[in-house]
């Protein structure tokens, strides 16, 4: 009986952990994406948040995982608007470092 309980608890606990991680990554992504110079941290968290939240949802978690997924998608979508002048090529990177004011 105890063994059954343990085996039943482990996957849902795992789902919950993944959902929490996804939600935290989504929130962090949404905060960082608006901060100049370190906005790319938001992008990285957004990508991680999408992957983790999808995994959580596939394992049955809903509420928190969905919130994490939505926040991560929003943060990643903002990446396109804020950072990437050219998103289909490398041309915008012409002189990415040589043009910096230093």
């Amino acid at each position: 009986m105890d063994e059954n309980l343990q085996t039943n608890e482990t996957p849902s606990q795992n789902n919950n952990n993944l959902a929490v991680v996804g939600l935290v990554l989504g929130i962090v992504a949404c905060v960082f994406i608006f901060i100049p110079l370190i906005g790319y941290i938001g992008t990285l968290c957004g990508i991680g948040g999408i992957v983790v939240s999808v995994m959580a949802r596939k394992q049955g978690a809903s509420g928190m995982a969905t919130a994490g997924l939505v926040l991560s998608i929003i943060a990643t979508a903002f990446t396109f608007i804020f950072f990437l002048a050219c998103v289909a090529c490398a041309a915008a990177g012409a002189g990415i470092l040589s043009n910096l004011p230093y």
Partner: protein, 243 residues
């Protein structure tokens, strides 16, 4: 524009998912995985292409790390890197949740062409990925572009590639109407797109694309993708022969 293309592509794939017996939920998740992998792959290839400059200015990392890293991460993306990264992530998703990878690829391929078509319009609007200088009525001169040389008539290669991508999307959709064996739609895309991209690269004149022995990085990747397309296109016959 690419964001707009991504939204249209996603809706488009979701509408077509029932044809391939793939749940809408799985289609959406595979697309999100693909987007994540695509961003990572596109950025990695961008960093590889610009490695020389990154190495040259490495001292800036210690002087002003915030500015240096922001310039690297915010610089740009390379489409082929995104394609490869996206395919790897979608493969991981399909493997983990036991979904047919080739089926998902066939479903998503027309959407990639659609999103890419929108992306190239974005390139034109930003002035990047510009073509070679031409005379006559073919050239379009930018006046306030931060990337392209201003007041010089340039061949609108971005619009040509955009139109080609939309046409390719239509061709793939018509081809996919009939029941084809798995991998054929994705294979057809990889057979047509690299050839056209290889040729269009000659019409471009933006120099920051990375060159090896006179041909651009994208042209080298195009050469490698062509046999992969052929294998995908003939996957069913190859499988039969191996059995």
């Amino acid at each position: 524009m690419l964001l707009l293309g991504g939204i249209f592509g996603t809706l488009f794939s979701l509408c077509r998912s029932s044809k391939y017996d793939i749940k809408r939920e799985d289609t959406l998740y595979a697309l999100l995985f693909g987007l994540s992998g695509g961003l990572i792959g596109a950025k990695i290839l961008f960093l590889i292409v610009n490695f020389k400059e990154i190495w040259e200015y490495r001292n800036l990392l210690w002087k002003n790390p915030g500015l240096y890293l922001n310039a690297l991460f915010g610089g740009g993306l390379v489409f082929y890197g995104g394609l490869i990264g996206g395919c790897i992530f979608i493969y991981l998703y399909c493997k983990k949740y036991k979904i047919s990878y080739l089926k998902v690829l066939d479903l998503l391929t027309p959407s990639i062409a659609l999103a890419h078509g929108f992306g190239r319009i974005g390139c034109f609007l930003a002035g990047c990925c510009y073509g070679m200088p031409v005379g006559g009525s073919l050239g379009i001169a930018f006046e306030n572009s931060p990337v392209a040389p201003n007041n010089i008539p340039l061949f609108p290669v971005q619009l040509v590639e955009s139109g080609f991508n939309f046409a390719l999307c239509a061709v793939l959709l018509i081809y996919a109407k009939k029941d084809r064996s798995l991998g054929k739609v994705a294979g057809l895309y990889l057979l047509i797109y690299p050839v056209v991209r290889f040729l269009l690269e000659f019409l471009r004149s933006d120099s920051a694309r990375g060159f090896i022995s006179g041909i651009s990085t994208s042209q080298i990747i195009s050469i490698f993708l062509l046999p992969i397309g052929f294998i995908l296109f003939r996957a069913h016959k190859i499988k039969r022969k191996l059995k």
